[in-house]
Every structure is written in structure tokens, then in C-alpha cells.
């Protein structure tokens, strides 16, 4: 039994500095509330003093904090996200551009759904969500943005559902998905991030990615914007390293701008390039591709494109050694860039097995 001071001698100012009193008026703890109610009954002469103190406490408590819930949330998330990039050492003041660079360093994977023929959205169709996991379904027709416990961001498409634990396990971050979503995964070198869908397991080691898989679709597509992921069949416990080539039936490793289509009936993987490859985001503005070419040798142009998009481009450097290109192609999609460049040097290109093959002739 806790011994309380003799509150009969207390004035309002003494109450206000007393933690047991504050447990009642500030936090409204039920044990404290009852205790003080009793006390008032026993000491009616001190009742006014106590109520004055309570009144003062309420006025103090009601002083507004000029911080909206939204701002608060933002700041907390920003701080938490920043810790992922902190060494266990003292760093000097953090600046905004520095923080932005961290985000750019993240990578992306996208999964697209080929046939948008959907049955009525019936909420969660996730199988066997572990007990205690949180499930969120997007029944609206808008994108739904949300945060995972590790600070990673999910953009959930309409008629999609995700489930995840309230806190991720120390060794792995796992989530379940039905439908379509983009994951902006916070980099954690040691803790892989895995998205489980009905028939596929997409695993990303410290990156940012997006996953789509609908129960109704016979085919599922995973595509990668940047970074590297492995896609295996659900239940396949082999390490991503064991998974190599397309069409092997085991699974595939995807890099930037590649995608794989998984045919659930035939259980086959077909690897290809995404329909509209995007430049891979780079950490520094200096390394960013300008897509401006001025009398640039063709080989250099293709090398720069390879680097910018992280894709493979095969060409015969000897044949093209006399070809140069002059063009400003910023903001033009890759395939249009290739068409323009090839047209100006009399070459053609085709996409074969996730590679771009350029066939040209001597320009001299």
C-alpha cells in the first residue's frame, strides 16, 4: 500500500505539483479518480481547494499545442525513416537534401496485372493470414497510401488487400498481398522484404518495390524499376541465388526494367522487358543522364542508355564505329528513343528475351 502525504494541509499549488493528483486530472487514471473521490468525501472542508486545483489543471492542460496530428505524424515518420540511414556514429546536422538522397537510393520493383477483368471486390481474399496481423483492404476507387511498421510505404491499388504484422520480425519483413500495390521499401541490409501472393514469392533485399497478384487472374506479372528481386513460386524455399534463368520453372531474378509473367496453369515464367522502361533513379544529380547527344558515337549513346535504364543492349560496336548521333531526347520513352536513334543511323532494333538487340550498318 502506497503511503500518501497528508493532503489536508495542501493548497491548490501543492496539489498541482503532486504526481498522484496529476494522475487523476491529467491522465484520468481510474484508480486515482476513485481515490480522490473518496478523499473529497472524507474531507469536505478541503473540497473547494481540490476543485480549484483541478480547474487550474484543466485550464493548463487545455493549452493548445500548435502542431496538427498530420504534421506530427509526418515528423515522427521522417525521424524514424532517417534512422535507417544512420551509422552508429555521430553525424553532424542533417540537411534536407541529404535526407532526400536517402530516398533516391532506394530501389523499385513493380508488378503489373495483365488482364483487368475483375469479379466484384469482396474484401480480403488472403489465405491464412497469421493471427494478430493487420489487414487493410482498399475498397475505394483511389490509391491508398499507408506505412508499414518499418517505415516502408505501400500504395495500395483499388480492390487490393494487404496483411502485415503490427511489428516485423527481427530477421525478415513479410507481408501478404492480393491485388496490386507499390512498395517503397526502406533499406535494411540484413532484413529482407518479402511479398507473398497466392502463387508467387517476391523477395527484395533492401529496396523499394511494388507487387500485384489477384486471385482472379490466371497470369501474374512482376516488374522491376530498379534494383534486384527474386521471384519464386510460393512455398519454394530455395535461396534466390539458386534461381537463375527465365523459363527454368524455378523462378527468376529480375533487374531494372525487367518483368516476368507467371502462367499459373502452366507454372512457367517468361522474362521480358517492361512495356515502358524508365530511367533508373540515381543518387546524385551529377550522375543523371541528360539524354542529350551531340555528335556522340553510337556506341557511347548505347552505353549511356544501358546505364540509364539498367538494361542490356546488344550491338556490334565494329559495324557502328563510324556512326554518330545528335539528339536531345530527355523525357522521351526508351523505345521511342531507340526508334529515333536507329532511324538516324539506318539501324533497327528488336527486344529478344529481355534484351535489346540493335542491328545496324556501317555509317561511313
Amino acid at each position: 500500500m502506497t503511503t500518501r502525504p497528508d493532503y489536508r494541509t495542501y493548497e491548490a499549488e501543492d496539489f498541482l505539483a503532486d504526481s498522484w493528483f496529476l494522475a487523476w486530472v491529467k491522465r484520468d487514471r481510474s484508480d486515482a479518480r476513485e481515490w480522490w473521490r473518496d478523499w473529497m468525501e472524507k474531507h469536505p472542508a478541503r473540497r473547494d481547494t481540490l476543485l480549484l486545483a483541478k480547474d487550474m489543471a484543466e485550464a493548463l492542460r487545455n493549452r493548445p499545442v500548435p502542431l496538427s496530428a498530420e504534421q506530427e505524424k509526418q515528423e515522427v515518420q521522417r525521424i524514424v525513416a532517417l534512422t535507417r540511414h544512420l551509422p552508429e556514429e555521430k553525424r553532424r546536422r542533417l540537411w534536407w537534401p541529404w535526407a532526400a538522397a536517402c530516398v533516391v537510393l532506394a530501389m523499385g520493383v513493380y508488378l503489373f496485372r495483365p488482364a483487368p477483368v475483375q469479379p466484384e471486390f469482396a474484401g480480403s481474399v488472403l489465405k491464412e493470414v497469421p493471427a494478430g496481423w493487420l489487414t487493410r483492404a482498399n475498397g475505394t476507387d483511389k490509391l491508398l497510401k499507408m506505412r508499414l511498421p518499418d517505415g516502408s510505404q505501400v500504395t495500395l491499388y483499388p480492390k487490393s488487400t494487404v496483411a502485415y504484422p503490427p511489428g516485423f520480425a527481427p530477421e525478415e519483413r513479410e507481408i501478404e498481398l492480393d491485388g496490386e500495390a507499390v512498395f517503397s521499401v526502406v533499406h535494411e541490409g540484413k532484413r529482407p522484404f518479402t511479398v507473398h501472393t497466392r502463387s508467387l514469392k517476391t523477395r527484395v533485399l533492401g529496396t523499394q518495390f511494388r507487387v500485384v497478384s489477384r486471385a482472379a487472374d490466371a497470369k501474374q506479372v512482376v516488374s522491376v524499376i530498379s534494383g534486384k528481386v527474386s521471384v519464386t513460386k510460393a512455398g519454394d524455399t530455395r535461396e534466390p541465388g539458386a534461381v537463375r534463368s527465365a523459363g527454368s520453372g524455378l523462378g527468376v531474378v529480375l533487374t531494372a526494367n525487367q518483368q516476368v509473367t507467371y502462367d499459373m496453369a502452366r507454372t512457367t515464367f517468361v522474362k521480358e522487358l517492361v512495356r515502358n522502361p524508365l530511367p533508373v533513379r540515381t543518387a546524385s544529380a551529377a550522375a543523371k543522364e541528360t539524354f542529350r547527344f551531340d555528335e556522340t558515337p553510337a556506341a557511347e549513346v548505347f552505353e549511356r542508355l544501358k546505364k540509364a535504364y539498367g538494361v542490356e543492349i546488344i550491338y556490334d560496336a565494329a559495324t557502328l564505329r563510324h556512326c554518330t548521333l545528335t539528339a536531345s531526347l530527355e523525357g522521351v520513352p526508351l523505345y521511342d528513343q531507340l526508334s529515333l536513334l536507329c532511324a538516324s543511323i539506318g539501324a533497327t532494333y528488336e527486344v529478344i528475351d529481355a534484351r535489346i538487340v540493335v542491328t545496324g550498318r556501317d555509317c561511313s
Partner: protein, 211 residues
């Protein structure tokens, strides 16, 4: 940077069991707990820090710095039994340092606490829901304005921070008796003026009821 004297913070009995549990969990490392911890303290510390400066960018920077320090040094500060007083003290030091670094800073090397001027009330008004509490708040600010800086800060640390007198003494760099005096004089003064505040509120209330 972390003074060893933090380690002998007074182990006054505290009913904030949840907070202590959170802190114990955090010392073991998981990042999820860090988020909980930041979430738990952010608003309260923002309120405290906001008493020193109206520069919200500076305030947010200091808070960010404070929590990132906590993350980076979590192994070293794990001996601190009570995280609460550590956070208040560190935030205060960071804000003071930043304010005094600015060229426009006070000539006399001092930082004001809780400068309850009309400007602040206006800024806050958007967040105040009812006419009554708005009135109450502005009256309360008038009363608080009648106290000294140190009295206001001691009351803040006691009432909002719920720190022990020893912890407040450590933060304000005075002895424990001075804290007791600051609190007692400050709160007595508030109490003496309180009936006026109350009657004004009642008058105001009946006025609006008659309308």
C-alpha cells in the same frame, strides 16, 4: 556529449510504467520500438520546445537531432533510468544552443521561456475549438505572463513534464530547494489570480447563454 551525471537521475516513484517499459524495450534495440518512443514524446516535447522559440523549423530540427541522437547513442545512454528527464534536458540544451547561435539572438545571452504574447495566441487560435476555451486560454496566458521565466519553466516541467524536483533542478541548473520555491511561488500566484479568471469565465458563459 552525454554527461555522466545523467546516470544518477533520481529514481522517484513514477506511475508511468508504460513509458519505462517502452524505454527498456528500446534499449534492446528493435526499430519498431523507436517509432513508438518518438510517437510517445514528440507532441509533448514540441510543446515544451515551442516555449523557447517560434521558429518551427528550428524546433523540428532540434527535435529530429534529439531523437536521432537517442537512436545513435542508445547503447551508451542505456544506463539512464528515466528517459523523460534526459529528453527534456537535451532538447533544452539543443534549442538554447541554436537560438544563441543566431545573429538576431538576445544581446544578454538569455533565452525567454514561454513568451506569451498576443502573436502566439493568434497563431494558436486556429486550433482552439470553442469560444470558452479560447477565452480561458488567453486569460491563462495573461496570468502566466505575470510570472517570471523560471517560474513558468518550472511549472511547465512539473505539470506537463511531470518531472521530479531533482530532475527539474538538474535541468534548470539550480538546487532542489530553489525548484520548490519557484513552483510554490509561481503556482500560488496563479492561484491567487484564479478566482478572477473563474468569474470572468462564468460571466462570459452566462453572457453567451443569454444571447
Amino acid at each position: 556529449m552525454l554527461k555522466p551525471d545523467l546516470r544518477r537521475s533520481s529514481p522517484a516513484p513514477r506511475d508511468k510504467t508504460d513509458e519505462t517499459l517502452l524505454w527498456l524495450k528500446f534499449r534492446e534495440g528493435p526499430q519498431e520500438v523507436f517509432q513508438e518512443l518518438v510517437q510517445h514524446f514528440y507532441r509533448e516535447l514540441y510543446f515544451y520546445g515551442g516555449r523557447f522559440t517560434r521558429d518551427t523549423d528550428l524546433l523540428k530540427d532540434c527535435l529530429q537531432d534529439l531523437f536521432l541522437d537517442l537512436w545513435v547513442y542508445r547503447h551508451r545512454i542505456s544506463d539512464t533510468p528515466y528517459i523523460r528527464s534526459y529528453l527534456y534536458k537535451s532538447l533544452r540544451r539543443k534549442i538554447h544552443r541554436e537560438i544563441l547561435r543566431q545573429p538576431s539572438a538576445g544581446r544578454d545571452d538569455s533565452v525567454t521561456f514561454d513568451d506569451v504574447s498576443s502573436q502566439e495566441i493568434t497563431a494558436e487560435q486556429a486550433l482552439i475549438r470553442t469560444e470558452l476555451s479560447e477565452y480561458q486560454t488567453s486569460r491563462l496566458h495573461e496570468l502566466l505572463a505575470g510570472l517570471s521565466d523560471r517560474q513558468r519553466e518550472a511549472i511547465h516541467l512539473k505539470f506537463y513534464g511531470e518531472l521530479s524536483n531533482e530532475e527539474i533542478a538538474d535541468i534548470l541548473d539550480v538546487n532542489k530547494q530553489s525548484v520548490a520555491n519557484l513552483l510554490h511561488r509561481g503556482l500560488s500566484r496563479l492561484r491567487e489570480s484564479w478566482p478572477t479568471l473563474l468569474s470572468f469565465v462564468l460571466f462570459h458563459l452566462s453572457n453567451s447563454l443569454n444571447r
